[in-house]
């Protein structure tokens, strides 16, 4: 309900407030005439810069992408012709576009840049409008203290420059923060002050908005008696050009009536509110209106209509939620990072000990073969060692550990030890040494990579081929493999989560090729597909049907696959692009396809 924010974004070289007051058709005509002007004026001059910014401003609510592009063009031209004012104003516009696209961090970055550029302009009004914009961004990030500070700056600057309009906007924005942080008295005080100013200056648009905001604030604190007169006044004050406020005030009043059991009057108001919202095309407003209708119908025991309204409310809510979620996410992310810092040092020590323990298992095994018992002493040193290594900069613990365990699973370690034992018994010590060397290299890399969130694709592929070498060695070279990377891929510039393929490769080897008569082949292909990176793993083993019959060994391998599946789920919850896995049975063997979001490093 901070509709005033949009007002602030409009202060520019053309008339202020055009955006709010125009119906869709009117807005369209402004946009069209700006476009015409632009085609006429091809010269890279200050006129074009202004046109670009104004056009960006007029399309920003319908097409953020285009608005951003226009503002960036304006910036580039300003830079080319050394037009300082244009640079500052286009930076602000880029910030606004990002803000409307809900990319709050970038919005902040560009608004700050605009602030920096504005220092050379000597334009107090412009400079302080940036403070207001920053306040809006902070509000959306729910960083209220910083938002308050920004609004305070803005109000103060507006007072200094006698910008009544700015004072009103700043006061209302500040009041909305007080309202959200449940400081009723402070909110009302600001609102009343803004109302007085707005009325004495004949800001009819603002006056209606403020009245509705006061009513809504009282309503949200459950003070319906106080809310009513303000809402009624807001409805009468809201002009033809301000249907959003009218719709909102009608909805608020409907709730006030509803709270008193006047359901029939509430229904009339709620329906009117919805009608206006539809005319205006604001999804947010329509959602709220449906919500009120649902409430009213429910009280009237009209379950059919109530359900209809509820469904409409939910479907609109979901389409809007994307945006709300984004800012929630950004905030969560910031909080999480702060908490992470505290948790890291503690987790670190736990993690280190566990890594130690796992590597102790490995090394104990290997040394056993060499016929050495190697116990307490070793543990003592590992303790010393882990203390010394505790300074290491590593990331979160839990996931890595699960991953690490899966990769270094005991089966793999002990099977490898068996292989070495076998070599030694067959008196083939040179082979045993070669095997052990690559095995320990694999262990080292595994420890190194498993603590990283992403590694370069080339490192990941090297790791996989080392893993395949070790396994193929154990299978007495019954296994051949090849890895083909599409020439369009630069594997030194693509990032992937480490060792995603391992459980599937392991499956192909031990459940596809090992049980097969004769030798087998594994072919790994890596290629791009739109904005995805595809790993395609083919084996010519016995296939799925065959090895489910022999599923005695299934436990540990399915754990590895389960783990990858859950990693993919986590990735999908964080990104728009969808990662996916499919496993299909072929005529001969199995094909596994893993698609990950293509993550370019640079």
């Amino acid at each position: 309900m901070r509709k005033l924010k949009s007002a602030q974004f409009i202060f520019f070289w053309i008339m202020a407030l055009c955006l709010i007051s125009f119906s869709a058709i009117a807005k369209q005509s402004v946009t069209d005439s700006l476009r015409n002007e632009l085609t006429k004026n091809k010269a890279k001059d200050t006129v074009r810069v202004k046109l670009l910014i104004n056009l960006s401003n007029s399309v920003v609510w319908n097409d953020v992408e285009e608005a951003l592009e226009l503002a960036e063009q304006a910036y580039e031209i300003s830079e080319e012709i050394a037009y300082q004012k244009g640079k500052a104003f286009s930076l602000r516009q880029i910030g606004v576009s990002y803000y409307i696209g809900s990319d709050f961090l970038r919005a902040m970055e560009y608004t700050q840049l605009a602030l920096k550029e504005s220092t050379t302009l000597d334009d107090i009004g412009f400079q302080s409008s940036l403070h207001n914009n920053l306040g809006n961004i902070y509000t959306d990030l729910k960083r209220y203290d910083e938002a308050l500070a920004a609004y305070n700056d803005y109000i103060e600057n507006s007072r200094k420059s006698a910008n009544e309009n700015g004072i009103v906007v700043g006061l209302v924005n500040r009041a909305l923060i007080y309202s959200e942080t449940e400081q009723l008295d402070a909110a009302i005080k600001d609102f009343e002050q803004a109302l007085e100013l707005s009325e004495s200056n004949d800001f009819t648009y603002f006056t209606a908005v403020i009245l509705n905001n006061i009513g809504q604030t009282y309503k949200s604190f459950g003070q319906y008696e106080k809310a009513e007169p303000y809402l009624k006044k807001a409805i009468s004050k809201a002009q033809e050009d301000n249907q959003l406020t009218k719709s909102s005030a009608l909805g608020n009043l409907a709730i006030v009536y509803h709270s008193r059991g006047k359901y029939d009057s509430a229904l009339v108001l709620a329906e009117h509110s919805l009608e206006l919202a539809k005319e205006n095309g604001s999804l947010e407003r329509q959602k709220e209106a449906w919500n009120v209708l649902n409430l009213v119908y429910d009280s009237l025991n009209n379950s059919e209509e109530s359900l209809k309204a509820y469904r409409a409310y939910i479907s609109l809510r979901d389409s809007i939620l994307g945006e709300e979620n984004k800012s929630e996410l950004t905030r969560k992310e910031l909080e999480y990072k702060m908490e992470l810092k505290d948790a890291l040092s503690q987790e670190e020590i736990k993690r280190q000990t566990l890594i130690r323990n796992i590597s102790i298992i490995g090394s104990i095994g290997v040394i056993l073969i060499m016929g050495i018992l190697f116990t307490l002493n070793k543990k003592k040193r590992d303790a010393l060692e882990s203390k010394r290594e505790a300074d290491f900069k590593l990331k979160t613990a839990e996931n890595e550990l699960r991953l690490l365990r899966a990769q270094l699973n005991p089966h793999f370690i002990f099977n490898s030890i068996n292989s070495v034992t076998d070599y030694i018994l067959k008196n083939d010590t040179d082979d045993a040494v070669v095997f052990l060397t690559s095995f320990s290299q694999l262990m080292r890399l595994t420890l190194e990579y498993s603590v990283k969130e992403n590694i370069y694709l080339e490192d990941d592929l090297k790791w996989i081929s080392l893993y395949l070498d070790v396994e193929s060695n154990r299978l007495r070279n019954k296994l051949t493999y090849s890895i083909e990377v599409d020439p369009s891929i630069d594997s030194s510039a693509i990032l992937v989560p480490p060792m995603m393929l391992q459980p599937f490769v392991e499956n192909s080897i031990w459940h596809g090729i090992a049980p097969k008569d004769g030798s087998g082949t594994i072919l790994i292909k890596v290629f791009p597909e739109k904005d995805l990176l595809v790993f395609q793993l083919d084996d010519d083993g016995v296939g799925l049907k065959e090895n489910t019959k022999k599923s005695l060994k299934k436990e540990h391998k399915s754990y590895g696959i389960e783990l990858i599946t859950s990693r993919i789920e986590v990735m999908n919850s964080l990104s728009e692009k969808k990662a996916q896995i499919s496993i299909t049975d072929k005529k001969e063997g199995v094909r596994v396809t893993i698609k990950l979001p293509l993550h370019l490093a640079f």
Binding site: E72, Y75, E76, E79, L91, L105, R106, E109, Y110, Q112, L113, K116, S359, S363, V366, I367, M370, G371, I372, F374, R381, L384, E385, R388, E389, D391, F392, K393, V433, V434, L436, T437, S440, Q441, R444, L447, E448, Y456, S492, A493, L600, A601, F602
Partner: protein, 256 residues
């Protein structure tokens, strides 16, 4: 014949190394003795005067580095052996000193011995050991120097004199704050791995930058950094956000 001793407190590792030397390098190496404690090793160095010492990182509750500190001068070649001590491995990489990972593979031992036979002058050796000890001693793991091999040997650089590194295929140009540059035969990725924790940031496929030398950032589509030597380095589109975050979190005084 290289006069050699081994200092190693784990019998199996010792046996393994002795076997490898006797099997593959009987002609090149004369093994004077093997020592399994810190004190014995120290004494052996001064009495036997070896040309080559294989030294284990972990010796009871002391380390091979402690042993180096005890020595007044180091007039022999050193090859460290270690199983998995990441902090030590980092230190070796920074000081470009040879080390062998256990279990030692015959071909790696061969390479190490070839380097010893090719001979390195004594002054170089000393300065490398100095870098090594400095990096091990600094409690906060802040390695202040690194050894950079180049065509005519190597140079010891303080990290604080490195402005930026630029990839040139398999080579890397290292630009210093006295306006000179060194070309090193290691890839930019290797330097990235090494310098990641020391206020260096990979801003682009071809650029690694010391963040303490950043003067300003210019936004826009092809955003770039201006460094204190007035060179301009492109920041790739995808690295921009993480660079900003990194700069904020590392307390630089750049205002964006």
């Amino acid at each position: 014949m290289i006069r050699t001793i081994i200092i190693e407190d784990e019998q199996p590792c010792m046996d393994h190394l002795v076997t490898l030397l006797e099997k593959g390098f009987k002609e090149e190496v004369e093994l004077l003795g093997t020592f399994s404690s810190f004190e014995d090793g120290l004494e052996a160095i001064s009495t036997l005067n070896p040309e080559l010492v294989f030294l284990d990182i972990q010796l009871g509750n002391k380390s091979g580095f402690d042993l180096l500190k005890e020595l007044e001068k180091i007039d022999f070649n050193l090859v460290f052996t270690t199983a998995y001590h990441q902090f030590a491995i980092d230190a070796f990489r920074f000081s470009a000193i040879d080390y062998l990972l256990k279990p030692i593979a015959p071909f790696q031992l061969k390479e190490a011995l070839e380097k010893v036979q090719s001979g390195i002058s004594k002054t170089d050796r000393d300065s490398k050991y100095q870098v090594l000890l400095e990096s091990v001693n600094s409690t906060d793991q802040k390695l202040k120097k690194m050894v950079v091999p180049h065509i005519n040997g190597f140079r010891i650089l303080e990290l604080s004199e490195v402005i930026r590194l630029q990839s040139d295929g398999n080579y890397t140009e290292i630009h210093l704050n006295n306006e000179s540059k060194i070309v090193s035969g290691k890839t930019l990725k290797e330097y990235e791995n090494r310098l990641l924790d020391y206020r260096f940031f990979r801003v682009h496929h071809s650029h690694l930058v010391n963040i303490d030398f950043i003067k300003s950032y210019t936004a826009g589509k092809g955003g770039y950094l201006t460094l204190k030597d007035n060179s301009q380095v492109e920041v790739s589109h995808r690295k921009k956000d993480s660079l900003m975050k990194y700069l904020k979190s590392s307390g630089t005084d750049i205002i964006f």
